[in-house]
Symmetry: C2
Subunit: 238 residues, 2 copies
């Protein structure tokens, strides 16, 4: 009986602590490259909705332990089911510190991926490789799965996609590149909002859909503000 208890306990530990996800997140003055179409308070609301959509995708994708690393304590609203870690260091320093203290496989997910679905999370974490790199547009890394955090480190900014491929080789980690248009689409610029309207669902799409439609002009699809939307009160007006 004693032995059976130990076995059950082992199984339980394996189930509960099998993997962690971590999301770097910054709210104050977020997404300045959207400032031509969204005011400051709207951008700050919008990144919060994106964060919620990302947490939902991760959670429904089967990862229970979710950490949000942020530079200021009050940035993350209470109704998000995740642990909040305040760390004032830069992105790479904060994440590399995090990788040193966790024992489980880690999925690093950027906070601006509202097109990501639970199926993406399941497929990425089902890989038999040591590392999975999901590229973003323009050489970025949008999601990074690291099976053994002690055998890897991150280097975001610049061409992080190439850096992470190089680090995997340097550390003799097998790796694969996961190919997804939806996960490659991080929302940085106004034309990215077009992709959200075309392919999205969830809270962040609803937020943008209230403010913009899409318009076709000269064969290209563009963002078109609803003329009757009042951004101060967040509603359509007569």
């Amino acid at each position: 009986m004693g032995r059976a208890e130990i076995q059950n306990s082992e199984i339980r530990c394996t189930m509960v602590y099998k993997m962690r996800a971590v999301i770097p997140y910054k709210k104050p003055n977020a997404k300045s490259r959207l400032s031509s179409v969204l005011e400051l308070h709207e951008r700050e609301e919008f990144v919060e909705f994106m964060l919620k959509d990302v947490v939902t995708a991760i959670s429904k994708g089967g990862i229970e332990a979710i950490d949000i690393i942020t530079t200021s304590a009050g940035s993350v609203v209470d109704d998000i089911e995740a642990n909040v870690i305040v760390n004032e260091l830069g992105l790479n320093e904060a994440l590399n510190g995090y990788l040193k203290i966790v024992n489980e496989p880690v999925l690093i997910v950027m906070a601006d991926l509202p097109l990501m679905t639970p199926l993406h999370i399941k497929e990425i974490t089902a890989s038999d490789k040591d590392v999975v790199i999901v590229p973003g547009k323009g050489g970025g890394t949008n999601v990074l799965f690291i099976r053994d955090p002690t055998s890897f480190y991150v280097k975001y900014y610049d061409s992080s996609f190439l850096s992470h491929c190089d680090i995997a080789r340097e550390k003799s980690q097998s790796f694969e590149v996961y190919d997804s248009f939806l996960v490659s689409t991080d929302i940085d610029e106004p034309h990215d909002l077009v992709e959200l309207l075309l392919h999205g669902q969830g809270l962040s799409k609803s937020y943008i859909q209230k403010r913009f439609g899409i318009e076709v002009s000269k064969g290209r699809v563009k963002l078109q503000p609803h003329q009757k939307f009042n951004s101060k009160i967040g509603e359509m007006v007569e």
Copy 2:
């Protein structure tokens, strides 16, 4: 014995004529949105290399019958293993005419997808749905698989992704959206060449790699011309 012969013949027909691919292609003054970085003769050479890469991916992906629809007879070089169909009509008229005369499932593939691989072709055509739509950036349709050409029509330009979803519903065809960053990346603008340098292989990557590198500036990856490249002679000079 007679019966066995008929069966073999049936099997052979099924194998050989199981599917066709068609690529709309235009060479004269191609890719004008790349004119800030490539001269006219370079753009026309480049689209030819992209066409060759696309034909290779389709062919290695298991489709033997490949048709290229083009507006002028001399546009397609002889060393491409594909049938050339000259049609001076517009893209939609030409393709819808084509769909009326073929009997097999059809894969419509844009000619500017050098990041597409044979595996993509295999996965797209392995779908059990009537129609598979592969979106491009900004609402486009980069690849379209149509199992029954008599039960579908195409509507490119504008937001063709939404149009093709609507047409599938209108015609009661089951459909799925195939999610790929690499196939979503059609090469239209200079920043798309960065994706080709980062993620590509094949002839079109080699062509661009001779002329450009990538440079990281203010956290973004940009195209950087090799200073010693002479575009007139197509070589590096001292």
